[in-house]
Amino acid sequence: MALLEIRDVVKRFGDFTAVNHVSLSVEAGEFFTLLGPSGCGKTTLLRMLAGFEQPNEGQILLDGKDMSQVPPEKRPVHTVFQSYALFPHMTVAQNIAFPLQMAGVPKADIPTRLDEVLEDVQLQQFAKRYPHELSGGQRQRVAIARALVNRPRVLLLDEPLSALDAKLREEMQLELINLQKEVGITFVYVTHDQGEALALSHRIAVMNKGEVAQLDAPETIYSYPKNRFVADFIGQCNLLDAKVAEVGGARMKVEIPGVGLCETLPVEGAKVGQSGTLTLRPEKIRLAASLTHDGDEVHFKGKVHDCLYLGDVTIYIVELENGTLVETMLPNSAPGRARFFDDNDLVELAWRFDAGHFLLD
């Protein structure tokens, strides 16, 4: 049985449905992420798990027990808030000891518990400081330590890294992964940052308009998005309009109007003439002035439309023969070279037939 089970949960605020019939389950020890744009319902779902909101329909079960009658202070679930919500009138040690005191842990045991968790987040020498005397990253660690010290069954994290700068964010991501491995507590993580979600999670639920658009492992979500929304939201993705041209066999053929036929992986239930979208990640496209390609590759001609130099890579926007723009990228492995092509250069593109992923409309 799953540790946390969300069964057909609906939450409405007036006319607005924030969470619409969501069902999912989280296993013990999992790093689970709710990912989506703002207003997709991920934070509402998190607040329902914490107990601050009550679902209008459906059930939330923790260890098989219905949580609907359990107030937030009685749930074995703790939250790391986006703003950290550290108590400004308490020192780091007092902040972290707070949940222990509330749980009635004997006074004599508190110092040991405190030392343990301070060591976990490397804040031993900051125990006597007040939150306003700490840096953003240190506050973040205090918030995590405070939420973890009582060993909750589930730790909820509400965009915990969004207030940090990019470099610190990456450091904290690594720390979070290690911490989660070390303590073995189930993490439910909310973010709108797809990179963060891919880097941290065991599984991701991509949410859109109150519904789960796709629930899968990061690599599956990235490589095989189930719908246009997920393809578009996660990473950069080319979306090419196409029609099914040939089915049956190990490969399916689709026609990109004005460009030509293109082989791809077969899609279940596809019928000739059905329209859809071919999704293609920029880094899976080969680009050169002229290419030799094998039978497993799809091959087209194009013209460079725009270049974006990013340092490690350069993005080339290539115009296909039908006017569609395709994003591709090449690593700048040759030292000092900013780009291989200039605008309006004629180029050839190729990708493996299984690099693209066809979505039926």
Binding site: E73, K74, S83, A85, F98, P99, A103, N150
Partner: protein, 308 residues
């Protein structure tokens, strides 16, 4: 150059109010402090230090050799000789303290309610709190004389209820009770406003966090809201306790003979007995007592912080 202009501007802006305070606050305080060491005049007031002869020439009578004929500790002696004055001080502190505590208890829920209201309602509620200031202070206290007086509906209803239980009718006016009611009524807004200003700034996420970490409603209040509202409580206490301590109009109008405060005594010395030296002594002792109390509070506060 820039610096000089900035400095000049600073003095130009802060100079006038500073001068005003020097002339009308610091100087009178010093004059009063000096008056406490002088003898009373034959017909009240102070014994003169100067003499004007018929020709209109003024001479200073006091000099380095005869100063003990003009300066004395007699008035201070009077203050310490009779315990009635210390008793009156204690009673005044008790009235002001009780007023402050009642104001805190009454203002807290009100300030909380205002701070948690939607923005529009909030402004309206703040306006309602300061609305009493639009009418004259004495008129408002006179209104309490009517409300607490024996002819008011309030008294009649109360006494008829008491009669059911066989209790003798009570007279509320001219009593300690009436004084406290008046003091609380007049000072309540001065507790509500600083408390509101404090509570309004509280981050609601802190209460969510406390609840999430296992605190029930009672613990959330005492562990989070209360300690964070202490600056507001202290500001309100200063604004209520000190004026209440020196109040004389309310005990005059609402109190009986038994419920006068130190303010009444000081007023009596200056206006009725015309014993200015003793009035000055009482004023100085009151100021000292308040300063001592404030120093103690500051010391206790800093000690409490260290202990945490």
């Amino acid at each position: 150059m820039q610096n000089r202009i900035q400095r000049a501007a600073k003095w130009l802006i802060s100079g006038p109010p500073l001068l005003y305070l020097l002339i009308f606050f610091a100087a009178p305080s010093l004059i009063m402090g000096f008056a406490a060491f002088r003898f009373g005049g034959d017909y009240g007031g102070l014994m003169p230090l100067t003499q004007t002869d018929d020709a209109g020439k003024t001479t200073l009578l006091i000099n380095l050799h005869n100063w003990h004929d003009f300066l004395t500790l007699e008035s201070f002696g009077r203050f310490f000789e009779d315990s009635i004055y210390a008793g009156l001080f204690l009673k005044s502190f008790w009235y002001a303290g009780l007023t402050t505590i009642i104001c805190i208890v009454m203002a807290y829920p009100l300030a909380w309610l205002i701070a948690r209201s939607p923005k529009k309602t909030r402004d309206l509620l703040v306006l309602l709190v300061i609305l009493p200031f639009w009418s004259n202070f004495l008129i408002r206290v006179y209104a309490w004389m009517i409300i607490l007086g024996p002819q008011s509906y309030f008294s009649k209803v109360l006494n008829s209820v008491l009669a059911v239980f066989g209790v003798e009718p009570v007279s509320m006016l001219f009593s300690q009770f009436a004084v406290i009611v008046g003091l609380v009524y007049v000072h309540l807004p001065f507790m509500v406003l600083p408390l509101y200003a404090n509570l309004e700034k509280h981050d609601m996420a802190l209460l969510d966090a406390a609840q999430d970490l296992g605190a029930n409603a009672w613990q959330r209040f005492w562990k989070v809201t209360w300690p964070l509202s202490l600056p507001g409580i202290w500001a309100g206490t200063a604004l209520v306790f000190i004026p209440a301590l020196g109040m004389f109009a309310i005990p005059d109008l609402l109190g009986g003979t038994n419920s006068i405060m130190v303010g009444n005594l000081i007023k009596q010395q200056f206006l009725d007995s015309r014993d200015w030296p003793f009035g000055s002594v009482l004023s100085i002792m009151l100021t000292l007592a308040v300063l001592l109390l404030a120093a103690f509070a500051a010391w206790a506060g800093s000690r409490g912080k260290e202990k945490q």
